[in-house]
């Protein structure tokens, strides 16, 4: 019997500070036992439990893409006990990784379709995974137009800024980067909240178009009416949820929204599915 509570041992291979407030750091992990990387095979949209001996575990979306080999990458906001301790750890330190967990964005259903990614703040991690995955030469042809609407409070709060700039230069992805506000006179992208930019830039709704929405509750709250107005049907609006978790495998009982567990039946749901739940998230 495989023990689903046992993490794979990993070593921190690289740490980078993502945002100007230094509250977000990206960690690259390598597996101590190379065979574990195979067992950790994942799809874009899944998450894992980062396990720090003596502190505990936190569920974090996988920011690396299945097309990136040799490491697993996570961007962690400094919030509680484990994430704060993680921020004090160094390259070379040993910890654990348990997963992958949960479902993923519906890649099979989205094949041959347009994909609009709408992200806000630091909920962009599994969206980065998704973009890297879709832009991979083996995969790009599987999708029609790709739009990305991504906003943060300020330019310095955007994650993965170098990659955003790279994607801006490509012609096979439509980037719509925005900030709530900036004093930078050289800022060449959008200024405005994500819902407003969505209304202006999102492609027309249709049976061929899926929207993946991932962001803070306030962004989701105001983006949904915009998508409704644009005519996006609720089974084409894909959302990824967060709830407090412990086990990550649908057993410990806390992350449920009705009979669905966010950790195991989610974290990815269509809005149509969420409408059937009490939405306790």
């Amino acid at each position: 019997m495989r023990n689903p509570y046992l993490p794979y041992p990993v070593r921190i291979d690289a740490i980078s500070v993502e945002t100007e407030d230094k509250n977000l750091k990206t960690f690259k992990f390598v597996f101590l036992n190379p065979a574990d990387e195979q067992k950790f095979a994942y799809k874009a949209g899944q998450f894992a439990e980062l396990s720090v001996a003596g502190k505990g575990e936190i569920p974090i979306g996988i920011a690396s893409s299945p097309t990136e080999k040799g490491f697993a990458m996570f961007t962690v906001n400094k919030v509680g006990l484990v994430s704060s301790f993680l921020h004090s750890m160094k390259v070379g330190d040993v910890m654990g990784l348990r997963g992958p967990m949960g479902n993923w964005y519906p890649w099979e259903r989205m094949e041959g379709k347009n994909v609009v990614i709408i992200g806000g703040g630091f909920a962009f991690t599994t969206l980065r995974s998704s973009i890297i995955y879709m832009l991979h030469p083996d995969n790009r042809k599987k999708f029609k137009d790709i739009h990305v609407i991504y906003g943060a409070r300020t330019p310095g709060m955007l994650l993965y800024r170098e990659e955003l700039a790279d994607w801006e230069r490509r012609d096979d992805i439509h980037m719509h980067i925005t900030v709530d506000g900036t004093s930078d006179p050289n800022w060449k992208y959008n200024v405005g909240f994500v819902p407003a930019i969505t209304e202006k830039k999102a492609p027309p709704a249709g049976n061929d178009t899926y929207a993946i929405v991932c962001g803070p509750p306030i962004m989701i709250k105001f983006t949904q009416p915009v998508l409704d107005k644009l005519g996006y049907p609720h089974d084409k609006i894909i959302m990824s949820l967060e709830n407090r978790m412990k086990c990550g495998i649908g057993m410990c009982g806390r992350c449920n929204i009705g009979k669905e567990f966010v950790c195991k039946d989610g974290p990815v749901f269509t809005l149509e599915q969420l409408n059937q739940t009490p939405r306790e998230y």
């Binding site: 019997m1 040993v94 407090r244 412990k246 057993m251």
Partner: protein
């Protein structure tokens, strides 16, 4: 499988023999209350006990259980890595468990034994145990097992069912595990010819003594979100103090937490019982809490047991009618009343008002 007869005069000596092959556990009275304890040094299970105060779920699923050990000493090669804790899964037998508590394990198993993941701690402990149950001849007034998918002589989850027939027990052997235990105890007297009839009569007599019921027939068909939004949750949760007694005493509550505890450079990662009654259970790191009020939490408990579970597994309610939460709740919240309110929801005046 067959039924045998165990003379009460052979009971203690049989247990003594069985203890060579099994660690025996049974209800023992300590001060005022019974609880399931190891029967060491010839201690006898007290079979007059109806329901132990706490359910026997801790026999499989301890309130606190170490999963892993770790060392933070960087001089050790395996520092900061989780190592499986040593466990004893040698055969044990639980004597005198009541049918409701045995059935509860079958319900909880659905949570811990899934196609995708198996909880090895729960499953190994469960599978290493032989369950020797005792039918209830005089159930408590708060028992409502017969309408909760169970009953005083219910067999699900048991390996042997004992029925007290005065000077002897009739022992219905239900599984191979049960047969192995009976062999180990050396009991082999054939049951009287009319044993099946006698058992059926005892069962019927016991069932007739249970006069408290829940109605569950409409729960599955009721729309989830309507039930969730019902106005009676305000009334149901009003007196609740979120003490968690209901969840800790319940044989079918399975929620848990995972915590690390370090002393010096070594520590343990453990599973601990947790409760949906506590705000911390669902509190986000940001301070947001999706079940931030006691109304949310009381509703979660009842919706989980009586609606989400019913919808998810289609195996009835997540309750066996043992009545512990009814007896122990300090503010007299009664799951039977809540269940009947939920089941009657659409027929109520409230539903008419919504329509």
């Amino acid at each position: 499988m067959k039924t045998i007869k165990i003379e009460k005069s052979q009971w203690a000596s049989g247990l003594e023999k069985a203890s060579k092959a099994f660690r025996l556990i049974g209800p023992v009275k300590e001060k005022e209350f019974h609880s399931f304890k190891p029967l060491t040094n010839g201690a006898q299970p007290d079979l007059t006990c109806l329901n132990t105060r706490l359910s026997p779920k801790s026999l499989v699923y301890p309130q606190s259980e170490v999963m892993f050990n770790y060392s933070l000493d960087e001089g050790r090669e395996d520092h900061h890595q989780m190592k499986e804790a040593a466990k004893d899964y040698s055969p044990k037998a639980v004597i005198g468990i009541r049918p409701c508590d045995a059935k509860a394990f079958a319900l909880v198993r659905m949570n811990f034994d899934t196609p995708d993941y198996q909880d090895p701690y729960w499953l190994r402990a469960y599978e290493s145990t032989t369950w020797v149950g005792l039918g209830c001849t005089s159930p408590c007034s708060s028992c409502f097992c017969t309408s909760a998918g169970c009953g005083p002589y219910h067999e699900e989850g048991l390996d042997v069912l004992l029925a007290d027939a005065g000077d002897h027990y009739l022992a219905k052997i239900l599984t191979e595990k049960g047969a192995t235990f009976i062999d180990a105890a050396g009991w082999k007297a054939a049951a009287p010819k009319d044993a099946d009839k006698a058992l059926a009569a005892m069962r019927a007599a016991a069932e007739a003594k249970i006069t408290s019921f829940v109605q569950t027939d409409r729960l599955k068909a009721l729309p989830n979100n309507d039930l969730y939004s019902a106005s009676f949750w305000e009334d149901v949760s009003f007196a609740c103090i979120n003490c968690g007694t209901c969840t800790y005493s319940c044989p079918t509550c399975w929620c848990f937490d995972i915590q690390d505890e370090t002393r010096g450079t070594s520590g343990v990662r453990m599973k601990n019982w947790d409760s949906c009654m506590y705000p911390l259970f669902t509190l986000h790191g940001t301070g947001h809490n999706p079940r931030g009020t006691k109304l949310h939490r009381v509703r979660q408990r009842f919706m989980h047991k009586l609606k989400y579970f019913v919808d998810k597994y289609d195996k009835g309610i997540q309750c066996v009618g043992c009545g512990r939460c009814v007896r122990l709740c300090p503010v007299n919240i009664d799951i039977r009343r809540v269940c009947n309110m939920m089941n009657g929801f659409a027929a109520s005046g409230e539903a008419c008002a919504i329509e």
